[in-house]
Subunit: 130 residues, 2 copies
């Protein structure tokens, strides 16, 4: 049946962090995608299994998966599971820029308020992988 199930991911929750559980799950998935531990078609743990694993309610896991689905990051089918989506083929370049701008604006705004310049940020990003 294709895609591996997932000991690829090791989820963990920090109850003291102040970050809600469902957001911690989202962040861990986002990070895993960012560094290619998760890629197109990979199945996420089932709502129930992850809930048992983390000792939380299934709805909390479902909520995380739902938000990711709304963003198009995963797709979900009842009876089947939740999978990492194909990266959106953003056909429309204008739309693509719009989304990137939307993500970028608050980042630049905050960085600037700390005194960082665009130049510094670019230089920093060039080193990001290392």
């Amino acid at each position: 049946m294709g895609a591996d199930l997932v000991p690829k991911l090791q989820f963990s929750l920090d109850p003291k962090s102040g970050v809600p559980y469902y957001k911690q799950i989202i962040l861990q998935i986002e990070m895993a995608i960012a560094d290619n531990r998760l890629t197109q078609g990979d199945q996420l743990p089932t709502v129930r299994s992850l809930a048992v694993d983390l000792q939380i309610n299934p709805n909390t896991v479902a909520r995380a998966y739902n938000e990711l689905e709304i963003r198009g990051i995963v797709n979900t089918q009842q009876g089947t599971g939740t999978f990492i989506s194909d990266k959106p083929v953003m056909i429309d370049d204008v739309e693509k820029e719009r989304i990137l701008a939307e993500i970028t604006r608050p980042f630049i705004s905050k960085a600037s308020s700390y005194g960082f310049t665009i130049g510094e940020i670019i230089d920093f990003l060039k080193e990001w992988g290392d």
Copy 2:
């Protein structure tokens, strides 16, 4: 008495945006700093005057100013007012990188999950000013 008071800024609140008032104020100040409408030493409107202006409670304005103060963006003195801080002279380069990394990580993580690459992001930032 030095620094101008401030018709430099035109604050406005959108009650329908879902963004809390105090956060809207913070964002508007961050943006104003980012594009140099506010610079070192500029005085912000007083807690009271801005509260009257926006027809909200002074504490709501104070809360915005407080968060900015905690971040070192403004400094505040009772009886005197709230002023844009000197940009922190981050003497320690390591510390500087640490802060920038902290701001950058969630941004990259989210952008990646949308399928954007670091390269695309850098290219996009190069055009940012235009």
